[in-house]
């Protein structure tokens, strides 16, 4: 059991109270069913790309109606017990205003005797189920991911609070030198001050380093954010809140390959299939695609690598099944062009024309026509 010493004297937030209410409500429901000698059930939304709808007006993947019902039977009794114990753990965390990482939750389960998880993926799945069951962000349940949120540099002041004293902290993202501000795991309480013209979101840490090193943000008057691959929820939420708050455009600069487009960019903009119940918060509908586009490969005569089989499969799959790509004809055309070219190009490929070609030529040229960015 998690330690209770951390019990804060501060009153719980309204969000936390609502979560606790939902948890108790579901437990009562189950108890009632059992005492009525019926089999208790739990309903979970189906978490996959096949159960999402894309609304361009809303700008994100919305979960469709499909639900799976888990009835307590002989076959499901193990998962059912584990899910309930996970909910109990969550209730404990919320009440004591504590957090547990996915890994920690897995270790807590080692205390559950027969109901323990043998591997972490099992506990992660149950955790995702619980999250979907209550349709809340897992951070609200007290569970936090292990991974880092992302790095920020440029013309931005983040306003945070000291946990003990409650004093306001003003974090100036221009004052990290060659380093960067790290996006925290929860970002709901942050506030922002900025006069930047746009946010440039970058896939690789390498490209981010180059732009920070040469103070590109100063030159272009922007905020630089590195995602380091597929953006985490915290990163997506941070960008979303920042963009909403200051009403500034978001430009995405990723590798010119099916992974960069359909996994990284698509997830940032409209969310993922797996967390479809939460995409409403974890998406950045105002994001547009700066590069590298398939056309850039041609225009800038970039050095390329041939598409791998998985790339081709991913691209074909996106054209056929991804509601977002299918909705935007320019994207379908771009994917088809990529397949025709049969090659992919990384961000760093621009270094062929000189290490700082990206700063001196590529980005300025692209930024002259943001209206030409892919949706």
């Amino acid at each position: 059991m998690p330690e209770k010493q951390m019990l804060s004297s501060r009153p719980l937030s309204t969000a936390s109270k609502e979560v606790l209410k939902a948890i108790k409500h579901s437990a009562l429901d189950i108890e009632k069913k059992i005492l009525a000698r019926k089999k208790p059930t739990m309903k979970f939304p189906v978490r996959s790309l096949s159960n999402v709808r894309y609304h361009p007006d809303k700008g994100f993947f919305e979960i469709a109606g499909q639900k799976k019902e888990r009835t307590l039977t002989v076959n499901t009794v193990k998962t059912f017990a584990q899910t309930l114990r996970m909910i109990a753990l969550s209730k404990d965390l919320v009440e004591s205003d504590d957090i547990a990482t996915k890994r920690e939750a897995y270790y807590v389960s080692k205390n559950w005797e027969d109901a323990r998880f043998s591997e972490q993926p099992e506990s992660d799945t149950v955790m995702d189920d619980v999250e979907a069951y209550f349709s809340v962000n897992r951070e609200q349940l007290g569970f936090v991911p292990e991974e880092k949120g992302g790095d920020v540099a440029g013309r931005l002041i983040v306003i945070d609070r000291d946990r003990d004293t409650g004093k306001v902290l003003r974090i100036d993202c221009t004052r990290f030198g060659t380093g960067a501000y790290s996006i925290p795991i929860t970002v709901e309480h942050l506030q922002f001050e900025t006069r930047a013209d746009f946010i440039l979101v970058i896939e690789t840490a390498g490209m981010f380093q180059r732009l920070v090193k040469h103070n590109y943000w100063k030159k272009a008057n922007c905020i630089l954010i590195s995602m380091g691959g597929v953006p985490t929820r915290a990163c997506r939420r941070f960008i979303r809140r920042l963009a909403d708050y200051q009403k500034i455009p978001v430009y995405v600069f990723v590798d010119g390959d099916p992974y960069g487009i359909t996994n990284i960019y698509r997830t940032l903009k409209v969310g993922s299939g797996n967390a479809a119940h939460l995409n409403e918060f974890f998406c950045v509908p105002q994001a547009t695609f700066l590069g590298i586009t398939p056309q850039d490969i041609v225009d800038y005569k970039l050095p390329t690598h041939p598409l791998k089989d998985v790339d081709v499969k991913r691209a074909r799959d996106a054209i056929k099944n991804d509601p977002f790509i299918r909705h935007h004809t320019p994207w379908v055309a771009a994917m088809e062009q990529l397949l025709r070219l049969g090659v992919r190009a990384e961000q760093q490929a621009l270094a062929k024309h000189g290490l700082n070609y990206v700063i001196d030529h590529y980005l300025p040229e692209k930024l002259r026509h943001p209206e030409r960015f892919l949706p």
């Binding site: 948890i23 108790k24 437990a27 009562l28 189950i30 108890e31 059992i34 005492l35 000698r37 019926k38 089999k39 307590l72 039977t73 002989v74 076959n75 009794v77 193990k78 059912f80 017990a81 584990q82 309930l84 114990r85 909910i87 109990a88 209730k91 404990d92 559950w112 005797e113 027969d114 109901a115």
Partner: protein, 623 residues
């Protein structure tokens, strides 16, 4: 040099009714390759006396197995040419002189060579080639000696209608020296025959009949005795009694390898506690081992395939005898002798039959000497061969016989009768397996008889599964031909090939590619036939004729399906158990979680757990 296969047909071989195509082919190949004369004639001689009988040797009959005489040059020589007719055994090698020999180049003359050419006897031949008899290494020698004695005993008992009781005893005298004794309760052997049976190679009765019998495994007890004599210098000791009122005779016999004739060392009357039966004792050099190819295995498998037989077995390292009890009081039905079917006859055998027939016209000869040849079929054959139906079979020359041979295979002839076989039977297989294999599930199937190349045969499969059999090992494959366990050359055998060709995974066993399935199972496969087609002279593996493969596969699949039903039922039961334990294990956690969330009192938690358990149990049983 040229050695035509037919040239090897010395008198003994001409008596043989039929040949086996595989052997014929192998031989033709060897001959074609210009191999030494010795290798070309080896296989012919080898098949001799493997079917000795204790009872069927009428004294009145003229010498049934004439002495084989082969003219050979001394070792390392080139030409050996026994003469075609086969009537005269001893001949001069014809001098195939070059057209214009330069006498200075010639190292030998026909005359000088002739001086060194002399007769060798079968016994001498086998003395040098003991591997042909199954005595290639000490371990196999011990096994073969016991096998020969046991096969003889079982055949004798069954023919006399006696339920066999065998007493097999292996005594270790020194590191590699053993005294082997086999005692049976059979009919005994009449005094005059004893020396010939135990002291003369190629002496027996069953060899000339087409009938299902044991004894495909070797060359006879006399060979075992000869091997013992060669390695230890000790005689074969035989005790035999034919009836309680008759005296028991004691013999010490040796074989004179030069003459292939018995030498009686001792012949006396003694006191013996057996009312009737035979005891054979041989001292030999051998190796006693456990495991694969062991005597222990052979005895156990013999007990499985012969549940009507009781065996007491004493072996080195253990005091007292291991007892294999009788599981059935029923003797197997006696197999019947049949005439050869035309489809299974080869050209050489056909020529020989035509020469020896007593009938004076071709149609009559075909009808009388073959099974399933009706007058209509006989006329059809003559017509197809363009031969006069009433011509004298004796005068049909080789070219005409060839035409006749081809004609036979072009005419449609009914399959041979199959009621001549004596399968073990499903009930008996089950009885045999149940007493010797610690399994929990048994099934057996006896297929209907079928025919390959004119020979009737029948396949039987038994399966023992589960129990305390090792679960992770490969399946134990037990192969039998006419109730005799086959222990060597497993991979080359049709039985193994058939077992490998089946997808056992669909029957619930695991199976690696190209391997036998794994699981707690023993697989019993038996082929009964008037002529079991072995792949080689060593008679350890069965040839994969398509008809045989088909029957084997069908039988294995049939048993496999029954096994699958059993395994599935078993798994369902285990699954049920697992689910039941699931309820016990996980329901308390639902109680704990609900208590923690809702802050319930202990009593409510217990009530919840009890109720929930009842609800789930009920739904499980009503399902």
């Amino acid at each position: 040099m040229i050695v035509r296969p037919s040239l090897v047909s010395c008198s003994l071989l001409l008596r043989e009714r039929r040949d086996r195509s595989i052997r014929g082919k192998a031989q033709a190949k060897r001959a074609a390759a210009g191999s030494r004369a010795k290798t070309a004639r080896r296989p012919r001689i080898d098949r001799g006396p493997r079917q000795l009988s204790f009872t069927e040797l009428p004294e009145a009959k003229p010498e049934p197995a004439p002495q084989v005489k082969i003219v050979a040059k001394s070792a390392g020589s080139a030409a050996v040419r026994p003469i075609e007719s086969g009537q005269q055994a001893k001949v001069e090698a014809p001098a195939a002189a070059p057209a214009s020999p330069r006498s200075s180049d010639r190292r030998e003359t026909a005359e000088s060579m002739a001086a060194r050419q002399r007769e060798i006897s079968v016994s001498e031949f086998f003395t040098k080639n003991r591997h042909l008899l199954g005595f290639d290494n000490p371990q196999k020698a011990l096994l073969t000696a016991i096998k020969e004695a046991v096969d003889n005993s079982l055949d004798a008992c069954e023919e006399a209608g006696i339920l066999p009781t065998l007493n097999i005893d292996i005594q270790q005298l020194a590191e590699d020296r053993f005294r082997v004794a086999v005692v049976d309760n059979g009919p005994g052997i009449v005094r005059a025959q004893v020396p010939k049976i135990f002291g003369k190679l190629l002496y027996g009765s069953k060899f000339h009949t087409l009938k299902q019998a044991r004894g495909q495994q070797g060359i006879g007890i006399s060979a075992a005795g000869m091997y013992g004599l060669l390695t230890t210098g000790k005689s074969v000791v035989v005790i035999s009694r034919t009836a309680p009122v008759k005296p028991a005779h004691y013999y010490e016999i040796q074989i004179d390898t030069r003459k292939n004739a018995p030498q009686i060392i001792t012949d006396s009357v003694i006191e013996w506690d057996q009312p009737h039966g035979t005891r054979v004792e041989i001292e030999l050099v051998g190796t006693y081992k456990k495991g694969r190819h062991s005597v222990d295995d052979y005895i156990r498998q013999t007990a499985i395939a012969n549940p009507h037989c009781e065996i007491f077995y004493s072996f080195p390292g253990v005091d007292g005898a291991q007892h294999f009890p009788r599981a059935s009081e029923k003797l197997p039905p006696e197999p019947r002798e049949i005439k050869p079917h035309p489809y299974g006859v080869e050209l050489g055998a056909l020529i020989k039959m035509l020469k020896e027939t007593k009938v004076r016209n071709l149609v009559g000869a075909l009808r009388r000497d073959f099974s399933r040849v009706s007058p209509r079929v006989a006329f059809e054959i003559c017509q197809a061969a363009e031969l006069r139906p009433l011509s004298n079979p004796h005068s049909i020359a080789i070219t005409e016989a060839e035409r006749l041979y081809r004609a036979i295979n072009s005419v449609k002839i009914m399959s041979p009768p199959t009621n001549c076989l004596s399968p073990i039977g499903e009930e008996q297989i089950l009885a045999g397996m149940q007493k010797e294999i610690p399994a929990s599930f048994f099934t057996a199937i006896t297929r209907s008889p079928a025919v390959y190349r004119g020979n009737p045969f029948q396949i039987e499969v038994g399966m023992a599964y589960g129990g305390s059999l090792p679960a992770d090992d490969l399946v134990d494959l037990l192969r039998f031909a006419n109730r005799v366990p086959l222990q060597y050359q497993q991979s080359g055998c049709a039985i193994t090939k058939a077992a490998l060709s089946i997808d056992w995974r669909s029957y619930g066993l695991s199976q690696a590619k190209g391997a036998l399935p794994a699981g707690p199972m023993a697989l019993f496969v038996h082929i009964a036939s008037v002529w079991v087609p072995f792949t080689s002279e060593s008679k350890e593996a069965i040839a994969a004729y398509p008809e045989i493969m088909r029957e084997l596969r069908l039988a294995l699949q049939d048993c496999g399906r029954r096994l699958a039903v059993h395994i599935r039922a078993h798994r369902r039961e285990a699954e049920e158990q697992k689910k039941k334990s699931y309820i016990e294990r996980y329901i308390p956690h639902i109680g704990i979680a609900l208590r923690e969330i809702l802050g319930l009192p202990q009593k409510t938690e217990e009530e919840l757990v009890t109720t929930l358990r009842e609800v789930l149990e009920r739904s499980r049983t009503t399902r």
